[in-house]
């Protein structure tokens, strides 16, 4: 393990990601054909990420901060492997436990117990592995006897607790948390933080996306400030967060000149 310490776990090499939003409502195949024949198929290109370089080594705890629409969630999806970068290279070593939303991968008609299997299998676990950890997952979720009732009867906090228990039951190589801890009460938050520290000691690398600057300051070893899809700053949490807060308070006093992300209208076939 130790000789791999310096090897990057996550490597993003000038990653750019473009959402192509059709200008016309292209909900239907008929409209698509009409526009294609007329050569009037235009798209708005929205670059959610541009030239992002990121190298994360094992055991780091990287906080990602930025205003709404900065590209934080897109970045999380690229690291997870859900979205393929339009340009550039992505490389992630080992298993990933993405918690982009604690309610993802649940079937509300099934019981909490049945959902443990469904959810963990979606995270790429084998059935035998789940059997091994079943007790501890139920224990950590604190759901008690409710584990055998359908989760449509759960509160959102209960679903979130179950989701977190499942995703962190195994030590992943990379743990990605996107605003996931915003739900849940203070006591559960405390347990989550303890669990995250344990995972880190066990060798996990963590990416934490949050607006809670205090939490990032306390927990992260490093912070990345993302704005309009570009990395603005990358370094020790104290420095990055101070600069970020300063920029944000300035933006509040000075009217924003470029509120909308740059976009270009490009005509295909034209």
């Amino acid at each position: 393990m130790s000789d791999l310490m310096s090897d990057p776990v996550i490597r993003l090499d000038s990653v750019a990601l473009c959402y192509r939003l059709a200008q016309q409502r292209l909900g239907s195949f008929k409209e698509y054909l009409i526009h294609m024949v007329k050569g009037s198929l235009t798209y708005e290109q929205l670059w959610a990420l541009r030239g992002v370089d990121l190298i994360v080594t094992q055991g780091e705890m990287v906080g990602i901060i930025g205003p709404n629409g900065a590209g934080k969630s897109t970045l999380a999806k690229v690291i997870t492997g859900v979205l393929k970068p339009t340009e550039g290279q992505r490389e992630v070593r080992g298993t990933i436990a993405p918690i982009l939303e604690l309610t993802t991968g649940f079937d509300y008609e099934l019981t909490g117990y049945e959902n443990i299997f469904l959810n963990a299998l979606l995270l790429g676990r084998r059935r035998v592995e789940i059997d091994e950890r079943l007790e501890s997952i139920i224990e950590f979720s604190g759901l008690g006897k409710f584990i055998h009732s359908p989760i449509r009867n759960y509160s959102s906090g209960m679903v979130a607790r179950l989701g977190f228990s499942i995703a962190t039951a195994w030590v992943p190589d990379v743990l990605i948390l996107d605003e996931a801890l915003a739900v849940g009460d203070a006591r559960f938050l405390k347990r989550c933080q303890t669990r995250m520290s344990e995972l880190r000691e066990a060798g996990a690398t963590t990416i934490l996306i949050s607006h809670a600057t205090d939490m990032l300051r306390d927990y992260c070893t490093r912070c990345v400030w993302l704005d309009q899809g570009v990395v603005q700053a990358d370094g020790p949490p104290g420095d990055v967060l101070d600069r970020y807060n300063e920029a944000m308070s300035q933006a509040r006093t000075v009217p924003d000149q470029q509120a909308s992300p740059d976009s270009a209208v490009v005509s295909l076939d034209g």
Partner: protein, 255 residues
């Protein structure tokens, strides 16, 4: 392929989930799978044996085998077509191989078909229909049916994500195909008509006969039917695989 094998436990769980969720809140549960084709058979039997009079011995077996084929064929194609769209929240957030979803819907279709065949055997016995060893050919027939519908699902599920009207279109095509396939009428009726060849040489009919012949005619399907159905099944599977592979990177962008 390798990826899919790694996720075999997930596929199994999704199939069981499908079956569980389908019947969880119904009073008689999975008995519906068996009852629905029987009621359908009863209705068609009443209509076509008394009102129209087809020249078909043991019409209930003829029509029930056809209904079982059609239910599988249609439901398998429609549900696998919708499977990516329906699982959008998962596909937006978790890196799972997407082909798992159309695949598991086709597998649960096969399980449903197997359940629905239990009353078919009841009808065979009740009507005194001969039970011969040709019934052992049925697993091959079902494999061909499953391969074709999986191919169709792999082809249509990305298209359904890109264009919402594909779902409407296929719904209409399915109704058309149902009438163009000799499920509840004999092929001899179509053959009298100028455009009867559409029915006679339909590949869907070939796939159906491969399933119905061992049950109704007590014979192994002939080389023509077997050849055509195997060919279209393999072709659909290859086409579906190619389209699915080429479009899977773009799918999460369209949810």
């Amino acid at each position: 392929m390798h990826e899919l094998y790694k996720y075999r436990d997930l596929i199994k769980t999704l199939v069981i989930r499908d079956l569980k969720v389908r019947y969880r809140r119904s009073a008689i549960g999975f008995l519906w799978t068996m009852l629905q084709p029987l009621l359908m058979m009863l209705v068609l039997h009443l209509v076509f044996s008394t009102v129209f009079r087809f020249d078909l011995p043991n019409y209930p077996v003829y029509v029930l085998a056809g209904i079982l084929f059609w239910n599988f064929f249609q439901q398998s194609i429609i549900t696998s077509m919708n499977s990516l769209k329906g699982n959008a929240p998962i596909l937006q957030k978790l890196p799972v191989p997407m082909a798992i979803f159309p695949l598991s819907t086709v597998i649960s279709g096969v399980v449903n078909l197997a359940l629905a065949m239990i009353p078919l055997f009841g009808i065979l016995i009740a009507t005194g229909h001969p039970l011969t060893s040709t019934l052992f050919f049925l697993p091959v027939s079902i494999l061909i049916m499953a391969a074709f519908t999986l191919g169709a699902g792999l082809l249509l599920s990305p298209l359904a994500v890109f264009f919402s009207d594909v779902i409407e279109l296929i719904g209409v095509v399915m109704i058309l195909l149902m009438y163009l396939t000799p499920i509840f009428y004999p092929v001899s009726i179509a053959e009298k008509h100028k455009f009867g060849w559409v029915v006679t040489y339909s590949p869907v009919r070939a796939i159906m006969e491969v399933f119905r012949d061992p049950i109704y005619l007590n014979k192994i399907p002939g080389p023509a039917m077997l050849g055509v159905s195997t060919f279209v099944a393999v072709a659909a599977l290859i086409l579906g695989y190619v389209v699915f592979r080429r479009s899977s990177d773009r799918i999460p962008f369209y949810f």
